[in-house]
C-alpha cells in the first residue's frame, strides 16, 4: 500500500520554565486507506500526537511526512494549505460554525480551498448528506441539530475535500451508545467506499477493537503498534 503518513522521532515539549514532554520519539507510518485507532489514557499524549500529525501543532523535533511532503519544515501558510487539501478533522465537540447552515458548514473546507460553490460541488455535498442520513436538513442552522446530527455534519465536513486522511479526536466522546455505533459504522462505510484512511483517537479499548490497527501511547511514548487480526488471534 502507498504510504500516506510517516512520523519519525516525533517529540513535543511544552513550556520553557517547567518543560513538559507530551510526546517523545514517536515513529510510525500510515498507509492509504488504513483504519487505525490511537489509544491511551487521559494525558498520555494521544491528542498532542493527533495535533502534530494533523499539522495543527509543530513538533519540537522529529519529522512529519504527509504524502511525501516534509510538513515539519513548512511555515504556517503552507501547513494551512496542506491541512485543507489532505486532512479532514472530526473533533469531540464537533466545532461547527453556528453562523452557517448545515450545507454551508459541510462546504466550508472546499470554499477555504478556493473551490467555487457550484452545482458539481453542491451535488457532491448532497451525496454526502444522503450518505450521512442528513437529507432535508441542508438549510437548518447547525445549532438546531441534535448531538448525533452535529457530529454527522462534522463528518461530512471532513469528507467534502475528498481528504485522504481523516483524523478523529474522541469523535463519540459526547454521544450515547446508539449514536456511537452509528458513527463507527459510518466511518467504516466511508473507509470502504471512499478509501479514506482514518486515525481515530479514543480512550475506549472496546471501540479500538473495531479498527484494523491499534497504536497505543503511554506517557508520550508509542508502546504498542498491532494489527487487530493478531489481537483477536
Amino acid at each position: 500500500m502507498d504510504e500516506l503518513l510517516t512520523t519519525d522521532g516525533l517529540k513535543k515539549i511544552y513550556g520553557t520554565v517547567l518543560p513538559t514532554t507530551a510526546v517523545e520519539n514517536v515513529s510510525f507510518s500510515l498507509s492509504q486507506g488504513e483504519f487505525v485507532s490511537l489509544i491511551g489514557q487521559s494525558g498520555s499524549g494521544k491528542s498532542t500526537l493527533l495535533n502534530l500529525v494533523g499539522l495543527l501543532d509543530t513538533p519540537t523535533s522529529g519529522k512529519v511526512i504527509l504524502e511525501g511532503k516534509e510538513a515539519h519544515k513548512m511555515g504556517r501558510k503552507e501547513r494551512a494549505n496542506l491541512r485543507n487539501k489532505l486532512i479532514g478533522f472530526i473533533f469531540q465537540f464537533h466545532y461547527l460554525l453556528p453562523e452557517f447552515s448545515v450545507l454551508e458548514n459541510i462546504l466550508m473546507p472546499s470554499l477555504i480551498g478556493g473551490y467555487k460553490s457550484d452545482k458539481r460541488l453542491k451535488k457532491f455535498a448532497g451525496e454526502i448528506l444522503d450518505f450521512l442520513g442528513l437529507s432535508g436538513l441542508e438549510q437548518k442552522n447547525a445549532n438546531q441539530l441534535s448531538g448525533g446530527q452535529k457530529q454527522r455534519v462534522a463528518i461530512g465536513r471532513a469528507l467534502i475535500n475528498r481528504s485522504s486522511l481523516v483524523l478523529a479526536d474522541e469523535p463519540t466522546g459526547n454521544l450515547d451508545t446508539t449514536n456511537t455505533d452509528q458513527v463507527y459504522e459510518l466511518f467504516r462505510k466511508i473507509n470502504k467506499e471512499f478509501g479514506t484512511a482514518f486515525l481515530i483517537v479514543t480512550h475506549d479499548r472496546g471501540i479500538a477493537q473495531r479498527t484494523d490497527r491499534i497504536l497505543e501511547i503511554r506517557d508520550g511514548h508509542l508502546v504498542q503498534d498491532v494489527y487487530n487480526k493478531y489481537l483477536s488471534a
Binding site: L56, R76, K77, A80, R83, L97, L111, G113
Partner: protein, 382 residues
C-alpha cells in the same frame, strides 16, 4: 470573497451589536457633517457679512492724496486674473453736509454704477428708493438718513472741498451692515467726483478689487506690487488683522472638534470589533483548523470594519443631511433669521471617506489578533 461572506454572517449573527456600532458610526459621521457644515457656513456667512461688501485689495498711489492712472497695462493684468471677481476704479472726496446748526462729514465715493454694485452690492443693500445713479444723484447710508430725516427723492446741499455748495438728489438709502459706513459713506457715479476733482477719464483715487477667495488677498496684493512701481497695495488680511485672527481661531477650533469626533468614532469601532474578534475566537480557530490561512482569516475583520464603515457612514450622511435640513427648517420658522447652512458635497464626500477609512483602520487591531491566533489554542481549550 469568502472572508466577506464570513464577515457578513458574523455581523448578521449579532444584529443588536452590529446595529449599535452602525448607529455609533452614523451619529459620529452625522455630527461631523452637521458641525462641519454649520461652522463652515457660519464662517462663509461671517466673511460675507464683513468682507462681502468691501474691497479685499486696494490699489492707491504711493503718496497719500495723489491720484493714480488706470492704465491699459494695469487693466489688462487685473481683468486677466481669474481670482479677481470685481474691479472698481473709484474717486473719493470729502464733503460736508449741514442742516441748521448740525453738520456731518461725508466721504463721497464715485465710480461706474455697475462696478460699484459688484463690490457694494447696491442692488441688494439699497433698502429704500432706487440704487440707480444718474448725474448729481447720490445714495446715502441708513444711519445718516435717519439722523437727518432724509428720504429718497430729497435734495440735500453739501459743501465741497473748495468751499462751494452743491445740491445733490438722494436716489436711495443703503445698509452695508456697518454703522460707521452707513453714517459717513455716500455713493455717486464716477462723473460727479471727476468734475469736482478735475480728474481725467483714466484718473482715479483708488482701485478696489474683490476676490473669489478672500484668503488669497495677500498673494494677489504681492503679485500686483511686484509688477508695478509707485503704487501702494493694501489687503484686508493686513488691514483687518483682528478679523483674520478670529476666523483662524474658528477654523482651528473646528478642526479640533472634528478630530475628536473622529477619534471617538474610531475608538467605538475598534472596541466593538475587538470584542467581536474575541467573541469569534472559536470560529476563527475552527476556520484555521480547516485550512484558512492567517492572512485570510485576518481579512474577515477588515471586511467587518469595511461593512460597518459603509453602513454607518451611509446612515451618517443621511442623518447629517437630515440635521442640516432640520436646522434650515427651524431657522426659516424663527423670526430672526439665522445664517444659511449649506451642505457641501465635497465636505460630505471627505467625511464619508474618513468614516470608512477610520472603520477600516480601527479593524487593524482585531485583524492582527485574529491573524496571530493559533488554531491549537481553540482546539485544546475544547
Amino acid at each position: 470573497m469568502l472572508s466577506l461572506h464570513i464577515a457578513a454572517r458574523f455581523l448578521k449573527k449579532s444584529p443588536i451589536q452590529s446595529l449599535l456600532i452602525v448607529a455609533g458610526i452614523s451619529v459620529g459621521i452625522a455630527v461631523q457633517i452637521f458641525v462641519g457644515s454649520l461652522i463652515a457656513s457660519l464662517q462663509s456667512y461671517l466673511i460675507d457679512q464683513t468682507l462681502g461688501s468691501s474691497p479685499h485689495v486696494t490699489i492707491a498711489a504711493s503718496k497719500e492724496g495723489e491720484s493714480i492712472k488706470y492704465e491699459d497695462k494695469l487693466q489688462k493684468i487685473l481683468k486677466k486674473d481669474k481670482r479677481i471677481t470685481a474691479i472698481l476704479p473709484q474717486r473719493t472726496l470729502s464733503i460736508l453736509y449741514r442742516k441748521g446748526s448740525e453738520s456731518a462729514p461725508l466721504s463721497l465715493k464715485g465710480g461706474d454704477p455697475k462696478s460699484l454694485n459688484s463690490i457694494y452690492r447696491l442692488s441688494k443693500n439699497v433698502t429704500k428708493g432706487s440704487f440707480k445713479l444718474t448725474d448729481n444723484s447720490i445714495l446715502v447710508g441708513k444711519e445718516f438718513a435717519k439722523s437727518f430725516n432724509i428720504s429718497p427723492g430729497d435734495e440735500i446741499e453739501v459743501t465741497l472741498p473748495d468751499g462751494k455748495s452743491k445740491i445733490l438728489k438722494v436716489n436711495g438709502i443703503f445698509d452695508l451692515g456697518a454703522r460707521e459706513l452707513n453714517q459717513s459713506l455716500v455713493f455717486s457715479n464716477g462723473k460727479l467726483p471727476a468734475d469736482i476733482l478735475g480728474f481725467s477719464k483714466d484718473q482715479y483715487s483708488k482701485i478696489e478689487i474683490q476676490l473669489a477667495d478672500v484668503f488669497t488677498s495677500t498673494k494677489v496684493a504681492k503679485e500686483i506690487d511686484k509688477s508695478f512701481t509707485g503704487l501702494k497695495i493694501s489687503d484686508w488680511q493686513v488691514e483687518r488683522e483682528d478679523l483674520l485672527s478670529g476666523l483662524s481661531a474658528q477654523t482651528s477650533s473646528t478642526i479640533i472638534i472634528q478630530v475628536f469626533i473622529i477619534i471617538a468614532v474610531a475608538l467605538g469601532i475598534a472596541s466593538t470589533l475587538s470584542v467581536s474578534a474575541i467573541q469569534k475566537t472559536r470560529q476563527i480557530g475552527i476556520l484555521k483548523a480547516l485550512g484558512m490561512t492567517d492572512a485570510r482569516s485576518g481579512t474577515v475583520f477588515l471586511w467587518e470594519g469595511m461593512l460597518l464603515g459603509l453602513f454607518g457612514t451611509g446612515g451618517g450622511v443621511c442623518l447629517g443631511l437630515g440635521l442640516i435640513g432640520l436646522f434650515q427648517w427651524m431657522s426659516s420658522r424663527l423670526e430672526t433669521s439665522l445664517f444659511p447652512v449649506e451642505a457641501r458635497l465635497s465636505f460630505i464626500a471627505i467625511s464619508a471617506a474618513i468614516g470608512i477609512a477610520v472603520a477600516m483602520v480601527s479593524a487593524i487591531f482585531p485583524t492582527r489578533r485574529t491573524a496571530r491566533l493559533d488554531p491549537i489554542e481553540v482546539i485544546q481549550s475544547g
